[in-house]
């Protein structure tokens, strides 16, 4: 399910990283609360990240002779808590992208959203529901299955949207060449039929083992739960993200004043003529239908970059250790 680089347009990558920033911030805050109850959570984050790495690299046999691997998002959420799992899986994905070439570096935000947010939270929500109705294992099984399939569905949508939002004037896709009609069934089919069941089997068996051997080392929810509010926010974000992708496309079209449009379209054409070869691939050609080129795109990129920097700056400020008063 790791989306490699060049399958998502830079705009999508940027949007998804920006969408992840508030989630990571909330996760850090929630984990800080968890730290007060269970102090070993801090090193556990790193260790759980390596555990997740090993889970993802371990090939499980499936009847028929082939293999698949589990992701373990739901399992980790149940073992160490959903917010800690979110951070641990983020670290795993970061390591995989930067050091092992597994999943794209630019697509990190997308992968993090799918595997570090959607999967553990959907899975955990189902598990909690199951627990409430006194069938935690049923909840866990459903959670593992729904978690991985929701993540696959979102990954499929992210990929399948690309031909719609980034294509040349002639309609040739610039990034992922497969539309929604192919990307979604391909991603979902494989997960609904095979990977989902592998995930269910794996999650249940490990959970069963841990519950039998050391039930106290499972994640205990805080006595005062305000979980639902956060889950609501999160689900809202998850729903909004793909909408944001679509919306960003139309928003571009409304910005430029018509004189500028005209001027730039002319200039754009002038630049285009000598490069006969480049004709079919011109990025501005994408927006030329809306008669916007050059400046707004550049400005837009700079603005988004600045926004990301400001948000990151704020996040970093918020995370820094406060100076300890010297005794």
């Amino acid at each position: 399910m790791h989306i490699p680089d060049n399958y998502l347009s830079p705009a999508t990558c940027g949007t998804l990283v920006t969408a992840m920033v508030p989630i990571w911030t909330v996760a850090v805050l929630k984990v800080k609360v968890q730290l007060k109850r269970q102090r070993e959570t801090l090193p556990m984050l790193g260790i759980a990240a390596s555990l997740a790495f090993l889970i993802m690299m371990f090939n499980l046999p499936i009847p028929g002779g082939t293999t698949a691997h589990a992701v373990g998002g739901t399992l980790l959420a149940v073992l160490i808590g959903p917010w800690a799992a979110c951070l641990a899986l983020t670290v795993t994905l970061f390591l995989q992208a930067l050091l092992f070439g597994d999943g794209g570096i630019l697509a990190f935000g997308a992968n993090a959203l799918n595997m570090a947010v959607i999967m553990p939270f959907v899975g955990y929500a189902c598990y909690r529901l199951g627990q409430k109705w006194h069938h935690p294992k049923v909840g866990l099984a459903i959670g593992a299955y729904l978690g991985i399939n929701t993540a696959a569905l979102v990954a499929g949508i992210e990929l399948g949207l690309q031909p719609l939002i980034a294509h040349t004037a002639s309609g040739a896709p610039l990034y992922c060449p497969y539309g929604l009609n192919i990307a979604v069934p391909a991603m979902l089919g494989a997960h609904l039929l095979v990977a989902g069941w592998v995930e269910v089997g794996f999650t249940l068996l490990v959970y069963q083992f841990v519950q039998k051997v050391a039930p106290t080392s499972l994640y205990q929810t805080a006595p005062k739960t305000s979980q639902r509010r956060w889950l609501g926010l999160l689900l809202g974000l998850a729903i909004l993200t793909p909408l944001g992708l679509l919306a960003s496309n139309t928003a571009w079209g409304e910005w430029g004043p018509s004189e500028l449009k005209h001027l730039l379209a002319q200039q754009h054409l002038a630049a285009q003529v000598p490069q006969g070869m480049a004709h079919g691939f011109h990025f501005q050609a994408l927006f030329s239908d809306y008669a916007i080129a050059g400046l707004p795109v550049s400005l837009g990129y700079i603005l988004s970059a600045l926004t990301a920097i400001v948000i990151f700056g704020l996040l970093i400020r918020g995370l820094q250790h406060d100076p300890q008063p010297k005794n």
Binding site: F209, K212, V213, A214
Partner: protein, 243 residues
């Protein structure tokens, strides 16, 4: 007829040598102690003998059969080898993976397809032999270091292997437990089992060992002597005392 026959066996780790050119024969029923400092190649030899690794150079024959990567790639042959050779790891943590001690010991016999009553008998016998009957329903993960060693030995014994490989089996045991384990090993040897044990504590193994292979820091075997020969070599004894 030699049970284990090694000719010019070497093993290299990616950056370092693990074992340098070793030739050796071991007969059925021998009690061999591998002595040497840490990292001298004792564990590497045990890994090669158990079939967990294959030699970089040289040959290894077990029961007249050549054990090489081709042999080990065959699942059936590999399993037959594992039926005859049991190993207790240095880090017994990794060896205990079942939810309870009883299930741990039952794991091997169940694979063999024995009847439930036979499996229960083996569990009872092995736990009694290793003096761990009281641990029966405990979780292996929560046992102490010494208890883990005893359970690991019980779980290997339950398969009734012909050869027992033990990597530092006495570490973490109390003096009394060490004595009990050595007595048990002597009994097993008397019953015809071949025992190959790695240790760096000469005082512990001197009373039971019948043959001593001494490794140096360069992963070579510098001496291969019987217990009676060793008794006439005070220099070597003194050297072993300081390992």
């Amino acid at each position: 007829m030699a049970l284990i026959d090694l000719t010019d066996l070497s093993y290299d780790y990616p950056n370092t040598c693990g074992l340098a050119s070793l030739s050796l024969t071991i007969n059925p029923g021998e009690f061999v102690c591998l002595m040497g400092p840490n990292g001298s190649g004792k564990s590497t030899l045990l890994r090669l003998l158990s079939g967990l690794a294959t030699a970089t150079q040289g040959t290894y024959h077990f029961n007249q059969q050549l054990v090489d990567s081709g042999y080990l790639a065959d699942a059936v042959k590999r399993q037959q080898l594992h039926q005859q050779i049991g190993m207790v790891f240095q880090n017994t943590d990794v060896q205990l993976f079942n939810p309870t001690v009883a299930e741990e010991v039952a794991f091997g016999p169940q694979q063999l397809g024995l009847s439930p009553s036979e499996v229960t008998k083996r569990i009872n016998d092995c736990l009694a032999l290793t003096r761990s009957a009281d641990l029966r329903d405990r979780v292996p993960y929560q046992l102490s270091g010494g208890e883990k060693k005893r359970v690991a030995l019980a779980s290997v014994l339950a398969l009734n292997p012909q050869v027992l490989l033990l990597d530092e089996p006495l570490n973490g045991l109390t003096i009394a437990a060490q004595q009990q384990m050595l007595t048990l090993l002597q009994q097993l040897q008397a019953a015809g089992k071949t025992i190959i044990m790695a240790s760096h504590n000469f005082q512990q193994v001197q009373p039971v060992g019948q043959r001593f292979l001494i490794f140096n820091a360069d992963h070579q075997v510098t001496a291969d002597v019987t217990a009676s020969e060793l008794a006439t070599l005070p220099d070597l004894q003194a050297q072993l005392m300081t390992l």
